[in-house]
Assembly symmetry: C2
Homo-oligomer: 459 residues x 2
């Protein structure tokens, strides 16, 4: 696309009428976006968090370093208060070695495949597990063949539905294989499970992620396999249903470890006891930098408070940035935050979470009363010039979910979803996958909503 | 983001009411999106065009190979007619060597910088040009200092405005430096120009692009410098206004060369003489693969016709995919297409162009009559479930612009703009920068609009 000869679309930028003078709200939102896009600091923060600290699974040295970093950054920005909220977290470690092999297939012999233990899984130990492997699409199919599962590895191979426009809907439709596939298979005597990665495309790397064991069912090892190797395994199994699969993992769950939520706030000048939260989760999976999941949400949340200070806005209510610990494998941080808020009789009016990646903003989801939703939707015309048009979906965020019982309006920042599951929970979730402008636009969108919530409240 | 613990947003995918049965239009659009996302072929086409053919500047062997490829692909898909439309194109070649140096700066001595000749520029030849260099922001500033420009190199260093939400607006506000900076500077006796790259961010590589010489003004060499080195040069110039700049380029303009537009069509069953065009441009700059600019638009256009056949849709009107040649440095293809349409008294009812990259769809721009715009906007509710919400902007596309005189409704496919100018006209515009789902969603969006245009017309 050039412009010299592009008479057809040059008119795009032409103003045919003099625009009306902006209202104070229009003006403040414009100033917030200008500050985020011309002098934003979210991208530099993310570069540090992902590049200098990197993976930060709950209980790991990376998580501890991220806690110190977040506290330090918010102190340096001069927020009114910055503190740590202690929380005990699950402490799962992957161990050094992971190995998967399709053994003695008819067409290709033995093939090394890319696997990763699912978070929370038991390991196989050094002797590994070698067994026949049987493919199923879902728990119904597993039940139908349950008589033939004993002593075998179960291979869950239902892809994310590519026709779902919202990739989170496709994820929801596939993720029970990862979350509870191991226990479902163990009920019928399976010795391990291999789960097709939760990815939108066919790629080389496995996507890890949380799984849970059902009480009183044997805890068998569970691994994710890359989508490319899931396709290969499925193909080789069709030719040779008796082929063997070998897997070896050394992961284990240690005793719970101490960690922290990290909180910074700017005190309200008029209704200091009314709190508006904006947050993300500081922990990430161990395989990668956690740039989109959820480094983006953390730096955007800090940036919201920094932007307010930078433009000289004095909030009426108290604005809090919360970096939750342990969203990925326990939600202990989100639960502890709500418990303490309840115990301290804090009055939260709204909580916003950014945990869908640092992509172009599309809108906000809401789990709130009808009148709260109506109030927030009344602000849509102020956001539309920045591309935020979707205010119609239910939803908040995992970490803020526990605040529901305190009747807090829960709001999810909603960016474009198309690329999220290319990177999610993989070594590919790195800083270079985040676009500077997209990240900054998200921070400005959240700051704009916080500004409106602060100015007008929700009652 | 996990799901096991994510009670807050799980409700996103829950259906609280039974949806009404889809209308025939809703159903056809759903089927088009399903076909594009589950069994699309645009991504594979783009992989071939970018990886096997690569750069394809007008007159180059790559452009000739792309013509043959596009014809072959459309023939293989069994479109009713596929033909080449001859057009003579400008033939500019870069030559082997390009070199830029900041010479003898006070702080850093001599520094090699990343430059690329602008398309259409004269070369310096092997002796290069070494001269003092003077920085300006715009033509007004150039005019103010015009008395001191003689014998010097002029450095145009006005960045794209980062606060513009639509990056094309920022581009429009900066690109006159590239397009006519050389002639503006030559009027005052400058010997060459260095232009800050048209990029959204600060990066290492220069962005080339078209420039034009004003008649009867000396044709001085013009190069783009990477945004990073533009910042460096500006900084060093502040310390040492007398520093020298050296540039050497070997580009030249050869005699016009023969080339082609490539056209494929599916004949209409009812109003075969009424034509709907969907297209992109087959040429690209020579520095890169031209994945977003505009390989994406080409494969999406072919995919529109393929999708119609794949779902068994029989159009009433004639649907044409047009791959224009020479959008980047002459627009000869777009002009020839309109000339031939006029000469043959063809009746085009609408032309859609995709030339803003293969990103997530946001809507369509229109240059059309009020009643045509109203008709198209009445279809917005059918497109909104797929994220297309912006039908409010003027604009068509460069290649379809010449059809305006035939009273054709001009429509521009409008994807998200945030990433486009990270890659535009650089070696970074490669296949891996295109997301499969985003590309496919664009093809499906265009196919849906073509379906509605075909079914309902515009009168």
């Amino acid at each position: 696309m050039i412009i010299l000869f592009a008479s057809g679309w040059l008119s795009l930028s032409a103003q045919t009428t003099t625009p009306a003078a902006p209202t104070p709200d229009e003006n403040t939102i414009r100033v917030l976006f200008d500050a985020a896009l011309a002098k934003g600091e979210s991208y530099q923060m993310l570069e540090h968090l992902t590049g200098r600290i990197g993976p930060r699974l709950s209980g790991s040295p990376g998580a501890a370093a991220a806690v110190e970093w977040a506290r330090h950054v918010m102190q340096e920005y001069g927020f009114d208060s910055v503190w740590l909220q202690p929380v005990m977290v699950p402490h799962w470690v992957r161990g050094q070695k992971e190995e998967g092999r399709i053994v003695n297939s008819k067409k290709m012999g033995t093939v090394q495949v890319n696997i990763s233990a699912l978070g929370g899984s038991a390991g196989t130990g050094p002797s590994g597990i070698a067994a026949s492997i049987v493919e199923v699409k879902d728990f119904e199919e597993l039940k139908r063949i349950s008589g033939s599962v004993k002593g075998k590895i179960v291979f869950f191979n239902r892809p994310m539905d590519p026709t779902k426009i919202n990739t989170f809907t496709a994820y929801s439709g596939a993720v029970n294989q990862r979350g509870s596939g191991a226990s479902e298979a163990a009920r019928y005597g399976a010795v391990a499970v291999v789960v097709r990665s939760m990815g939108s495309n066919v790629e080389d790397y496995p996507h890890t992620g949380g799984m849970q064991y059902t009480p009183n069912v044997p805890q068998i090892p569970a691994v994710a396999i890359s989508t490319k190797h899931a396709d290969l395994l499925s193909k080789l199994l069709k030719d040779d249903p008796s082929l063997q699969f070998y897997m070896e993992t050394h992961c284990e769950t240690l005793a719970d470890a101490p960690s922290f939520n990290v909180i910074g706030e700017i005190k309200g000048g008029e209704y200091a006891n009314e709190i508006i939260v904006v947050g993300g989760h500081l922990d990430s999976w161990d395989l990668a930098q956690g740039a989109h999941d959820d480094g983006a949400g953390c730096v955007q949340s800090i940036e919201v408070l920094r932007l307010m200070k930078a433009i000289g806005y004095k909030p009426k209510r108290t604005i809090r940035a919360v970096m939750y610990m342990n969203e990925e494998n326990g939600l202990r941080g989100g639960r502890a935050y709500a418990d303490i808020a309840e115990k301290n009789k804090e009055k939260h009016i709204a909580a916003i979470e950014s945990d869908r990646g640092g992509f172009t903003p599309r809108g906000f989801t809401m789990t709130a009363t009808d009148s709260e939703k109506e109030r927030i939707r009344s602000w849509k015309p102020l956001m539309e010039p920045y591309g935020l048009t979707d205010f119609g979906q239910e939803g908040g965020g995992a970490d803020i979910g526990p605040l529901a019982r305190l009747n807090v309006a829960l709001i999810g920042f909603l960016p474009d979803s198309q690329r999220y599951f290319d990177y999610h929970h993989t070594p590919a979730d790195t800083f270079d996958k985040v676009n500077k402008r997209e990240l900054e636009m998200g921070a400005a969108s959240m700051a704009s909503l916080v500004y409106l919530l602060d100015k007008y409240g929700l009652k």
